[in-house]
Symmetry: C2
Subunit: 209 residues, 2 copies
């Protein structure tokens, strides 16, 4: 990040200082989308995990985004005219903070002392989101399943500063996230193992290179 912005600290401050927010709880498997009244809402995951999902006309599922604690998402980030319906599904029991984008743009009370901080913190979060999205684009532009897997492992590994990583998905979902066929992906994981690139135990992968 550009600034030494502390996301989780900022999110706590919002909860303490802003009275325009709304917090809702969702059970595992619940569809979050139906509770989003307004496109112009920013949503922040306080606890749990949610996936942003698209089903195309063939019934293919794609995990457009996977959000965990302190991640931000929302329809604000998507073109209004999209012909695909997007769903947000809680993968675990989750707690989501909602705030209208208008409330970030416009000061609620003339005197609200927190507003400047809210505004610039949100700007930082959106910039961080841009970086995430570009990372995802780098992943998706990889030409084949092998390169997607290796890039994905690299990203996780460099985030956690560890050659051994735990995949935060089921393999079924990982395939949907990388936008490849699950069986083909399993096959490719097998090849990577045989060729000595990785060690694989359950959903724990160790990079051997």
């Amino acid at each position: 990040m550009i600034t030494n912005f502390n996301k989780s600290e900022f999110i706590q401050k919002i909860q303490a200082n802003c009275d325009r927010i709304n917090i809702k709880k969702f059970s595992k498997g619940e569809n979050v989308t139906t509770y989003i009244e307004n496109r112009n809402q920013l949503c922040i995951v306080l606890k749990g995990e949610v996936d942003l999902i698209r089903y195309d006309f063939n019934g293919n599922k794609t995990i457009i985004g996977h959000f965990t604690e302190n991640d931000i998402f929302g329809e604000v980030f998507y073109p209004a005219n999209t012909n695909n319906e997007l769903f947000v599904e809680a993968k675990k029991n989750s707690e989501i903070l909602f705030i209208l984008y208008e409330n970030v743009l416009n000061r609620c009370k003339k005197t609200c002392p927190f507003h400047d901080e809210l505004y610039s913190g949100m700007a930082d979060m959106v910039l961080q989101k841009v970086i995430e999205l570009n990372t995802r684009i780098e992943l998706l532009t990889k030409r084949n399943t092998r390169d997607k897997l290796l890039s994905y492992f690299d990203i996780l590994s460099s985030n956690r500063l560890n050659k051994t990583i735990t995949i935060p998905f089921s393999y079924t979902d990982l395939a949907d996230y990388l936008s490849v066929d699950r069986s083909a992906m399993t096959r490719e994981l097998g090849h990577l193992k045989e060729e000595g690139f990785i060690r694989k135990v359950g959903n724990t992968i160790t990079l051997l290179y």
Copy 2:
């Protein structure tokens, strides 16, 4: 967009009101990257077209982004640790505006009357960038070449409100943009033509559905 934000108007205002900006001209084919002194710079295309390009270790080229008039780009938007080198190349004679992200965050003079507008305009531009990136992600998550082409055409078509579109790329570059093999893409374009989905004359495509 959320607000009725006018991007080109805003960009003109920056040029008229902010003295912290820097404008440079680039000739077709020139590498813009080498002129970017600072990662923390926002770059806006005033005139012309530039591509953001990655070459992987196999020499495969990917067009990560294609930017035209009023588009914003910059290394600020990319993770600092990326092991791929990114290049920005002018595809036409171009004019680029540079502004340090610090100058957006921090008021230059205590009294600068333009600063609030600069800040909120930039926030709008970054939000718009998020939408663009999500659109691109939707494209890249399509499972096969046909769906990528059709989605790409759809996006162009709905942007221009016209069933007939002109591709702003050479076909070679379009393949790099969609992250597919060029010859396979040409083949697929042929099928789409045969099957009556599109009409194709040069780089003009008409959607027939």
